[in-house]
Amino acid sequence: MSLYQSSVNKPVTTILIFVAIAILGLFSLIKLPVNLIPDIDTNTIMVMTSYAGASAEDIENNVTKPLESILNGVSDLKHITSQSKENISIVTLEFNYGEDIDILTNDVRDKLDMLTTLPDECGNPIIFKFGADDIPIIMLSATANESMTGLYKILDDGVSSPLARIKGVGAVSIMGAPEREIQIYCDPYKLEAYNLSIEQIAQIVAQENRNLPAGNIDIGSNTYSMRVEQEFNDASEMLDIVVGHKDGAAVYLRDVATVDDRLQERSQESFTNKVQGAMIVIQKQSGANSVEIANKIHEKLPSLQKNLPSDVKLNVIVDTSENIVNTINALKETIIITFILVMFVVFVFLGRWRATFIIILSIPIALLGSFIYLFASGNTLNIISLSSLSIAIGMVVDDAIVVLENITTHIEKGSRPKQAAVFATSEVSISVIASTLTMLAVFLPLTLITGMAGVLFRQLGWIVSIIMIISTTAALSLVPMLCAYMLKLNPKQTKIHKILFTPIDKGLNSLSNGYGKAVDWAARHRGTTVLIAAVFFALTLVLTLPHLKTEYFPTQDNARLSVTIELPVGTRQDITRDLALELADRISSSVPEIRCLNIREGQADSENTIASMQSNGTHIISMNISLISVTKRKRGLIEIGEVVRDILREYSQIKKFNVIEGGQSGGVGGQNAVQVDIYGYSFEKTDAVAADLAARLRNVPSCTQVNISRDEYAPEYQVEFDREKLALNGLNVTTAAQYLRNRINGSIASYYREDGEEYDILVRYDKKYRESIEDIENITIYNSLGQGIKVRDLGIVKETLTPPTITRKDRERYLTVTGIVAKGYAMSDLVEDAEKELNQMDIPLGITWEFGGTYEDQKDSFRDLVILMTLVLILVFIVMAAQFESLISPFVIMFSVPFGFSGVFIGLVSTGSPLGIMGMIGLLMLLGIVVKNGIVLIDYTILCRERGMGIIRSVTEAGRSRLRPVLMTTLTTVLGMFPLAFGTGEGAEMWRSMGLTMIFGLSLSTLVTLILVPVVYSIFSGVGVRKERKKEIKKIKRAALMAANN
């Protein structure tokens, strides 16, 4: 018994099977975690090797080069880049996306084990994997007034530790809150007078600050333990330590130094909305779900706030989950709107609510079915999976419509619904399955793409394929079953129904008749029609292609801006702070859309990993700007970014600035930038080329900001000891340098303990004795004989320039010039302009350049997608050829494809949208969808011919009768794309181009298909008929000849 027969006979089983799918789907939906994009494994591995004391060039030659040559052999390697700077070499291996990073890590480890040529003093290479998981998910600010001094401890105990206990939370670090330190500031002149040194004082302080167990003693019948508890209970106790003797009298610490219980001298400062405070950065554990963790953190914050001192206020600066949740909600809304639109179209065309209900029912079932797949395969609800659903809604009803339409026809001819349901379904089952196969031919290959696009679109491929399979199954079982029990032979029509639907019906009928006439005319004027179509196609290509812009992914308006500002190296922190506050003032007054503005400046503590990983220094200002949601403001993110850039350009003291829209550069939804890699050994030559290119790009309108990756030579002071003089005084470089360090940076003498916490006790010169070159020259260094020698007698203090980090890519020195695409321009504009400038430039011999970064990713993905498109075209052709058992019919249908492209180009150029990966995917899907209309038309035309009609009558008749279903399926798909193309919710820019591509491509190709495909069909059939006729005539002639001969 066939599927439809049994489902009509067993309505209970059929309904319950689909109810089960729906329930499982709902269960999966509740359990599904939410994320922005599908999980992408990291594709980079870093190898860090330290070599203390080596200069950048030594590191390059002795560490980086051997590492590069051995690591170059790791499979699937895309690029190998490296940084060689003083003391350290960092080699970064970039792999193709989608490779198993664990296997690659093992490969890298094996290769490193084979390496034996590294210098002896070199540390072991350490492997790091850095991925999207390491990006902070939430940044909190904690503003404070009177609690500022103890803020670090307050936050550490009251916020950071409780948050770190939440499941899934990785590191929680505090920035901008200086830690407490006990400073012992010594007066060098007094020290000298009492013949004391920093080292002695540090040693004495350490010896005085002691708790020591002394053993056990027996007293009477008991045993007691004995202890010495002499650790300081208060910092001021230290003042009374005897540090030496002079002329028989004791010298106390207070005689030579002051003790200050205060904060670290140098630290990063953080201001949120101009109030000083600290910043708390929260990272998640690898693989944990951001939205889930963010929710837990938000739940916990009020209770944490309650336990903090009243002046400490916690605020959220950046919450990445907010954007994810808003984007996903916007998409959910889109899906609901799409659903309603599709329902409306179906209702208008069918005019019967029972029929509409039967068709619409297959949508939720198919969608819920796809959630089961998502849940079972460990995926998430993300923009790809949800936009796939939105795309699929318009297409799932097609099969149901075909089946229902045929059942209705038979009922109208007088069949009983129950019987009609079975044999009418049987009649169309083959063509329903064939049209699903064409869709599968498009979507299943999507699961085969490699690279970044593959990671993203594998889900799209699977989801649409699964939805299509479920909807076809439903169309062949649930739909006939419901038709059998719900449709009536002669449904009663109410008055309102008649008033509403009589004009619609009449309109559609006259449209069909008019269209029939048009096809009739075109089929009689085949040459003219084909010529017009060809000219139209050529014109659209000629007119639109030169204006078609391309990009990788659009910049997503996630209401975040991050700004890095560099002042000249060595700018004092107070100057930087003043400027930072002034800038904050200026920016907040020109951008009223700001929700929260956070600034950080100053040198980060080297023990703070997160802070020291980001660029920091007394001359660097970092800003995190959060705006209100895109739906609540008029200006877009890029426009606001331009405003900030304009403000920054006004300050001549700013040496470099980088405004990053979206908080990340490149990738999915990040800032659109064009990166030019300039290769060459000589710093001087490559710097000159980079500077020239940067200057040229600054004058190009498509570029709003240019950054050069290589820093300039940075000024610093060096003490150059004379080895002979050192030797004469019984000293060596290490001892002398250590003395210098202890006086300037300080020597950690011991730890001061309070409430279970340890604080450093730091001994060094008072601040006022280390503020000039003379002060440094006057530092006294003691030799083993106790003789004090001034630095100025041992060497000279001179100002020098340190060379920047040596960066290499694919084993050659390089630097990058990055141009940010200006508002209103696409990436391809800037690429074109940059290429033009580069070709005009006089580039010295030995210097080469190429485009890297996002543009390279774009090129790779486009190439993959074009190959895939060819594959899809071939597969679609094969499916159609099998269905028609002919090579001519699919060839005829394929004529609708080029006009799909014309439509896409017209749509993109007229709306000024660039073609990105999302648009390319839209184009790919279009291939399958546009041929569907052709299949319906040609199938019916062949039917008419087989029923004995002439060619022209067949195409006219087929057109007239098939116009309704073609219009209906096209309208459901096109209108289904409207919310995607014209939505304004958060993240809407991501799928806009996909929506536009589908709407324009499908609309135009349908219009052209309706006329051109019947015409091309009649041309080919005409040729066939003429050949047959000629054969016949020849046969007759031959027969006549033979008869005459006889």
């Binding site: 038979h410 001819k413 007088g414 069949s415 009983r416 129950k418 019987q419 009609a420 044999f423 049987s426 009649e427 062949i942 039917l943 087989e946 029923r947």
Partner: protein, 97 residues
């Protein structure tokens, strides 16, 4: 005894059977899916791509007095949906075992 041969569109099959059952024709043989076409007008029923519809047939041997009643009912059925098509033919039975 007379033989009634009913050849009709699939759509009429169930109804035609019901008519036989309700009018005392207990014995019959049927074929649910077969091809055919009418002598006068109507679409052929071949079950192929061109003419996807199919016919069903019933052969029933009934007592003479039942024939008219059954044929009347069948005729009414045919008229209720003439596009579907239903024909019935009657002839004599010479001998049965």
């Amino acid at each position: 005894m007379k033989a009634i041969f009913i050849s009709c569109s699939q759509a009429h099959f169930e109804d035609a059977r019901t008519i036989l059952n309700q009018n005392g024709a207990r014995g019959y043989t049927f074929w649910t899916e077969l091809g055919g076409q009418g002598s006068v007008n109507g679409e052929p029923h071949y079950g192929d791509h061109t003419w996807p519809q199919l016919n069903s047939s019933i052969l029933s041997i009934v007592e003479d007095h039942l024939v008219d009643r059954i044929l009347d009912k069948l005729h009414k059925l045919d008229e209720s949906a003439p596009k579907q098509g239903l024909r019935a033919f009657v002839w004599n039975i010479e001998r049965t075992i």
